[in-house]
């Protein structure tokens, strides 16, 4: 649709630009939330930097693993063609997993408790994701099924990733809207609860459910499929199950803690 922004003759890729804007905006928002909650802002900077690095690694690695066969990856590496491996795309779940690992490493470097930052950082993730999906829309990736509805978008740019001349459902914008709604819900819950983990559990359930449903409308099937479901759908199911289990365990843990204190 609009893969490049031309500024003084320089073609700036919209996908990367939106990713950068998303990360900057979320980092600034998280920084102010950190200060407001009385935590150390510099520690958040350390955690955010490690999240960025490992999220990129995770997202790109996940994309390569679901898109290319091992033989193809080996061929690209042997022939030194890194472009398709590095610039093919990013899978959000890979970035999420990589980012979680990066956050843990960042908390070790900062010598702070990561759990104290969960409620601060997690609500801003869907905001960044919403902005990133606008980048997907501009680049012409992650598009939906062909449609005759008025919502359909026809990609015409020769450098775009989507097939040109076909009216496609703008699933990127739909998912962006869903992420903004999730962001609003999490910010509301975060302002009204003292629970450390509630926003994280809620995010996993909300986004996992939304992503599972939206995947049925995706038309770019190079993400990988297994037993009728896409890779992201399987990850979504795991995310929802894990969040529900964690929620139940935390609930019983807190309940047993209150029972012990009452008996004392």
């Amino acid at each position: 649709m609009y893969p490049y922004l031309s500024v003084f003759g320089l073609n700036i890729p919209m996908y990367g630009l939106m990713m950068a804007v998303a990360f900057l905006l979320c980092s600034v928002l998280a920084f102010f939330r950190t200060r407001k909650r009385g935590r150390i802002g510099e520690n958040l900077i350390i955690i955010a930097a490690m999240v960025l690095l490992f999220a990129l690694i995770g997202g790109i690695l996940f994309f390569d693993l679901v898109t290319y066969s091992p033989e193809q990856i080996g061929q690209y590496i042997r022939t030194g063609r890194w472009d398709p491996l590095l610039r093919g795309g990013i899978v959000f779940y890979g970035a999420l997993i990589g980012g979680a690992i990066g956050a843990f490493i960042g908390s070790l470097i900062a010598k702070d408790d990561l759990r104290e930052y969960l409620d601060i950082v997690v609500p801003v993730i869907p905001l960044g994701h919403a902005i990133g999906r606008i980048g997907c829309f501009c680049a012409g990736c992650c598009y939906g099924h062909p449609t005759d509805s008025p919502l359909g978008v026809i990609y015409t740019h020769p450098a775009g990733g989507a097939p040109a001349g076909i009216s496609l459902l703008p699933l990127q914008l739909i998912e962006s809207g869903v992420n903004l709604v999730i962001f609003g819900i999490l910010m509301l819950v975060s302002s009204r609860t003292v629970s450390r983990y509630l926003t994280t559990i809620l995010y996993c359930i909300l986004y996992g459910t939304a992503r599972f449903i939206l995947e049925f409308f995706r038309y770019d099937s190079i993400r990988g499929m297994a037993w009728g479901l896409s890779t992201s759908q399987w990850v979504s199911l795991g995310l929802i199950a894990g969040a529900l289990l964690a929620g139940l365990l935390y609930h019983f843990y807190k309940k047993s803690g209150r029972s012990i204190k009452a008996n004392e």
Binding site: I12, P13, Y15, G16, L17, M19, A20, F23, L24, I40, E42, N43, I45, I46, A49, M50, L52, L53, L56, T67, S69, Q72, W82, D83, P84, L86, R87, G88, G89, I90, G106, I109, A110, G135, C136, A139, G140, C141, C142, A159, G161, A162, P163, Y219, D220, S221, I222
Partner: protein, 177 residues
């Protein structure tokens, strides 16, 4: 720590600008990104400790700019374009496996109709190649047969000429007698 952050921040922004000026150079951009992240971490640690606050902030700002530029130039979403490139390479080099893989990837984007059309095209190409090979073999066989026939005809002609010569000699001998 603050001085290290400043130095790495300067290096990362130089690297990111060089990488941006040469979009084909992924290595420089990746190195600039990693160095920028390290500079951000060191700057934050320096700011926490309170020593060299100004240098730490300067290093932080430079590193953030470098990281942003690196992300913008490095991250893309162009799987389809790469598959088209692979398809073209496969056709040029006659690599049917590469053609099939790239076509399969593209078909994932465009659905079963394209996959079917590509399969048909590959089948037609293979069929045409087989037909051409068979035609060439037939032509070789025909030429071999024609050559053999020519040899036989030549032998027959030689035999006939020899017989005629022998007859002529006999006739001449009879005439002489």
């Amino acid at each position: 720590m603050s001085i290290a952050a400043l130095v790495l921040g300067i290096l990362s922004i130089i690297g990111s600008i060089v990488g941006a000026a040469n979009p084909l150079s992924n290595t420089i951009t990746i190195v600039a990104l990693i160095v920028g992240v390290i500079a951000i971490v060191l700057a934050a640690i320096g700011m926490k400790k309170g020593a060299g606050h100004g240098k730490a902030v300067a290093g932080l700002v430079l590193a953030i700019i470098a990281v942003v530029v690196s992300i913008v130039m490095l991250i893309a979403c162009g799987g389809a374009k790469q598959n088209v490139s692979d398809l073209v390479d496969g056709v040029v080099n006659g690599n049917t496996e590469q053609i099939e893989q790239a076509a399969s990837n593209l078909a994932g984007d465009a659905g079963e109709e394209v996959q079917s059309a590509v399969d048909d095209a590959i089948a037609e190409i293979e069929s045409a190649v087989n037909d051409a090979a068979n035609a060439a073999a037939d032509a070789v066989d025909t030429a071999a047969d024609a050559a053999a026939d020519a040899v036989d005809a030549a032998e027959d002609a030689v035999d006939a000429a020899a017989d005629a010569a022998a007859d002529a000699v006999d006739a001449a001998a009879d005439a002489a007698n």
